[in-house]
Symmetry: C2
Subunit: 304 residues, 2 copies
């Protein structure tokens, strides 16, 4: 599936940040076919190096997370929200396991959106999203917990809801446009409130999805991860790709989408880790200064 | 602080499970002074071996967690709840970071109880506890997020609330007895609903607490972890120890308390990991069998 003239030139990696290399230019038509799902733009040259590099980032990530948390405890309202999207089997769960697993679980707030409750349905579609946001100092993760085949009657993240609605023609185009605008407005308000949103689209190829579904069928320990509707939904691949293309184009106004080639799991994990690292380094959270007389408390402690 | 004739004889380790070695006999008076906080009962002989053994357990723990989660997705209602208690600086946060960090964060539900909301205060003290319980297939963790000095006006886990109430004489002894009974009844109902509760008391010595508080004062990056009330609360050490002794005695009726010597962090992490491993192995969750025709879906997939 290597694509000649891929939009993401791997030789660019050393010049700037990975974010610059992977970000989707907002407002321009997106052609997913022009992005090589098996590529490793800006990444280590092979799997062994990639795995080692990701493991090495773990300590830096956890250290920056602690500083973010510490700053949050002293009134800094900043936090980070990772949004994971992608076709079934694109590796959202694996990313949480391997990348979020590098952080201190205490400071992570993972939300896998399931069928909305009665209470949630009585509010705007953004209501439950707002309730799941990371608090100051936290790292939030938004995932959908259900395959596309079961989302139609339930609901996922706002973008997934739009995708499903578009693919299955559940709402009018005018309604879709209104939703994109609502999401963009919402993301703007998040930025104003100190939430850095890192949106990752995990891009896999049609062939890779077949291989991953086959793995789930050929290993009895993975049967529980296979859903009877997965193959019907796979038949809608072109419609989904088009829906993602439009969402990536329309919703890169505030926080950009990052397009992560995800056929290689080691690259996917490396790239998401690296993007989080770049964003946390840019936030540069600081340990708060003591608001008490350290020497005095030291003296009192030593007297005990 | 090595105690001759410690209640936890480290030579017993090879005979049975760690749970048998560390569990507090319910209904008998507990003398915390008889337990060596610096001991390593049943554990590896030194720090390097202990760290390696804990890291090695990580894979088994994550694998059992995946099976628990998979079984939960197919209707198995079982789950596990780790409750962490202990004096300030006993290492609850470090245990979450290093032990829960071994699991897949997706399947963990960590609750650090803070000041109750207005809604929570309008209900029974168990109401918010029930809402924070792990769902089937999940691993839940209950921690208090505030130091003792700030819990008095806020609230933590039910046991902490009782401790504070007892140490500061906020309620009558009759009320305390009623609370112990309510907690025991609640734990019984949890067991009936498939929740395995693993309660760990992290036992540190008075000297070790001084060292850890001093570390927080002597390192500017740790000032944020020091609370001005910590030293006042430390003056109540004997009253807290007594309150813990009574709670350990009264609330080992259903799920037992495990008394974890916690002066050595590496042993504490090893012991909690080992206890979780023993409980998960006893649950022995199984991957669910496919409820669809695997061959038929395989054929359909290969046609795409």
């Amino acid at each position: 599936m290597a694509t000649k003239g891929s939009k993401q030139d791997s030789t660019k990696g050393t010049e700037g940040t990975l974010g610059e290399l992977l970000r989707v230019p907002g407002g321009e038509p997106v052609d997913l076919g022009a992005y090589d799902a098996g590529g490793t733009p800006g990444g280590p040259g092979d799997k062994a190096t990639g795995l080692a590099a990701t493991a090495l980032m773990g300590e830096e990530l956890a250290s920056l997370q602690e500083r973010l948390w510490a700053a949050g405890s002293a009134g800094d309202r900043r936090r980070l929200l990772l949004v994971l999207q992608g076709m079934d089997t694109s590796g959202k769960g694996g990313t949480v396991k391997h990348v979020i697993g590098l952080f201190n679980p205490s400071g992570c707030r993972i939300t896998a959106f399931k069928a909305p409750t009665h209470e949630e349905l009585s509010h705007s579609f953004l209501w439950r999203i707002k309730r799941a946001l990371p608090q100051p100092g936290e790292i939030g993760i938004f995932d959908r917990s259900l395959p596309h085949s079961r989302l139609r009657s339930t609901g996922g993240t706002p973008i997934e809801d739009i995708l499903i609605a578009r693919v299955h023609e559940l709402v009018s185009r005018a309604q879709l446009t209104a939703r994109y605008n609502q999401i963009n407005g919402f993301e703007k308000s998040l930025a104003d409130d100190g939430v850095t949103v890192v949106k990752c689209f995990l891009h896999i190829s049609y062939d890779q999805q077949r291989r991953r579904l086959l793995e789930r069928l050929d290993n009895p320990d993975k049967h529980w991860r296979f859903n009877a509707g997965d193959i019907d939904e796979r038949a809608l691949w072109p419609a989904y790709q088009e829906a993602y293309e439009i969402a990536l184009e329309r919703c890169s106004v505030g926080a950009p989408w990052y397009l992560i080639p995800a056929d290689r799991k080691w690259y996917r994990n490396w790239a998401v880790s690296r993007l989080l690292l770049e964003h946390l380094e840019a936030l540069d959270p600081q340990y708060p200064k003591a608001d008490f007389d350290v020497a005095e408390y030291r003296r009192r402690l030593l007297a005990t």
